[in-house]
Subunit: 342 residues, 2 copies
């Protein structure tokens, strides 16, 4: 099967490449004063605080283009960046994107990436307010800065947790990690024999969790409607263990997480069983989940249960002297430890 | 000579690495509400517009660590990012830094980079308000987001140039490019024979322009003092030709630049002569200069000459139908063309 001819970036020129993206970007946020195409982007919020986070996604570390379509990668990059804005209880409004492209990449590849970015921008109502490209020696580099706003009194830091607070978690964990394991397995099989087609049928949920995750805008919206402001919050992108420890350290608290309360989907259990991985390990250290972990006063127990769907109370904070433990159903306490630098 | 032992990043841990930087970072801007260490940084400006730009610097493309000390690279990264904020006639206040590190890099290397970043932050009065690290497969990746503010009426876009405006340029051009040529030459000699010491004495100015450039805060400050607001402005990071064309395109104007008006230092001429490169080519296409190109109404000719030091009037805008030309002393017109994607 012949591939359609692709266009060299040098042929089009960097400036035209940026213009192409600008031309197909329709900014909708009233706070976007100046978008793509100047030395900087200009934003104006009224009375609110500005919340900014940058996410750097590197080929070979954060994604493998063998099994990650560029469209999905674009979408996921936006999700990864804005998840940090939601984790402050803020509303993302703008993105600034810079990409490094090696000679392997063509104009059509940038278009594909942009299709995914655009879809995510529409879904989450954010503007692509800045775009720049640079040559790269080594594959694809994506730097994405998310900018949002929140009233001062609504911003939630990692540091506000109190020692009797409930620990709450959105969605479920470990599925994205299982999706990644599946893709890696099929890649190995495929590399061994290119005649074999990858077996991905029936694994839709875990694949979707890895390839096309969503940020928890829904929960942030629900909390706003129900006037719930967490005491502390963090997004789970490095795994529950590591991110819980960050929250506890900054709140100067210890923690108890109850193993039987951990939300794990049946698809995660099924895949874990198939490849002989402990599903709890995937849940604690898996990463790529983009769920939110937050704390609320214990008095809000009933409110959380009634008002928030897709939220589980998985444990509670405690005095810092009591340490950080995972408690098993037979009441054994296993110390929580963070995953290291890989 | 034995090297002091360096510390593996895995040994220290990513979290501690970030903490180390946070601990030695003293935020001074009142607009920095929350700096390093949460999901996002929080900033509050009063009544002004927020101006944001991201710069992606990749090893092998933007810098060569063979001859670029990490300290200088840190300083230069800040300059490259905030130069875009000055080019909007705004004041930079915060930086958000993300770095990708391959296994070649140690904790001490991050410290070195941070020393340079910190020096630049102090010099330009900006806060390092966010810092994150990630593993990398391929060398050092630096993503630096600069955030600043300006009153709405002071912001200068690329698009405001009028067809009789004067074209003004800060500083001089081509010296950074000559510094790079010198370093590349000495690297080749050194690679051929490691007993030969590089000859860098007597080239201080061009080396400094390449290795430790400064952003034109001074000119932006002077313009504010003299109530000068340019009609259009851009920073010269890709070379005068390319950036002039950007300004002209967005202002829907043509341009005349007069060759004899181009500011070129004697050191640039000397090096150009030594390595048989046309100094005008270096000036037009050299890049890495971080000077500002701006336009003002022709009525401001005397004001610019009197009030602004280190600024040359190098030409003027004209009707878009008249095209974009460089005019030589013997009145020949050479069409300005942009450098391509390299």
């Amino acid at each position: 099967m012949s591939q359609p001819k692709k266009t060299d970036i040098a042929e089009l020129g960097e400036f035209r490449l940026i213009e192409r993206v600008a031309e197909t970007t329709a900014n909708k946020q009233s706070s976007t004063i100046k978008g793509i195409g100047d030395d900087a982007s200009v934003i104006h919020y009224h009375e609110t605080e500005t919340v900014i986070a940058n996410k750097l996604l590197l080929e070979g570390i954060h994604f493998d283009l063998i099994y990650t379509p560029l469209k999905h990668l674009g979408y996921k990059s936006v999700v990864a960046a804005i998840s940090n804005i939601y984790a402050m209880n803020a509303t993302p409004r703008q993105l600034i994107l810079s990409i490094g492209l090696s000679k392997r990449f063509f104009v059509e590849d940038v278009d594909e990436l942009h299709v995914g970015i655009k879809a995510a921008c529409e879904h989450y109502a954010v503007d692509l307010a800045g775009f720049d490209t640079t040559p790269s020696m080594t594959g694809l580099t994506i730097s994405i800065t998310a900018i949002g706003e929140a009233p001062k009194e609504k911003i939630v830091y990692r540091s506000g947790g109190q020692k009797t607070d409930l620990l709450c978690l959105t969605g479920n964990l470990g599925a994205a990690y299982m999706g990644l394991q599946l893709l890696e397995r099929e890649k190995r099989v495929f590399n061994g024999n290119s005649q074999v087609q990858p077996k991905l049928d029936g694994y839709d949920y875990i694949l979707q969790r890895y390839l096309k995750p969503e940020a928890r805008k829904d929960i942030i919206d629900n909390m706003a409607q129900s006037n719930i402001v967490p005491t502390a919050m963090i997004d789970i992108s490095n795994g529950l263990a590591s991110d819980t420890l960050h929250l506890c350290k900054q709140s100067n608290c210890g923690v108890r997480i109850y193993l039987e309360r951990l939300p794990i989907s049946s698809e995660t259990f099924k895949m874990a069983d198939e490849i002989c991985i402990d599903p709890v390990t995937a849940t604690l250290n898996g990463g790529d989940d983009y769920e939110l972990l937050f704390t609320v006063p214990v008095s809000m127990y009933e409110t959380i249960r009634k008002e928030l769907q897709n939220v589980d109370i998985i444990g509670h904070l405690c005095d810092v002297s009591e340490g950080n433990y995972l408690v098993t159903p037979d009441n054994q306490a296993v110390e929580l430890t963070a995953q290291g630098w890989q």
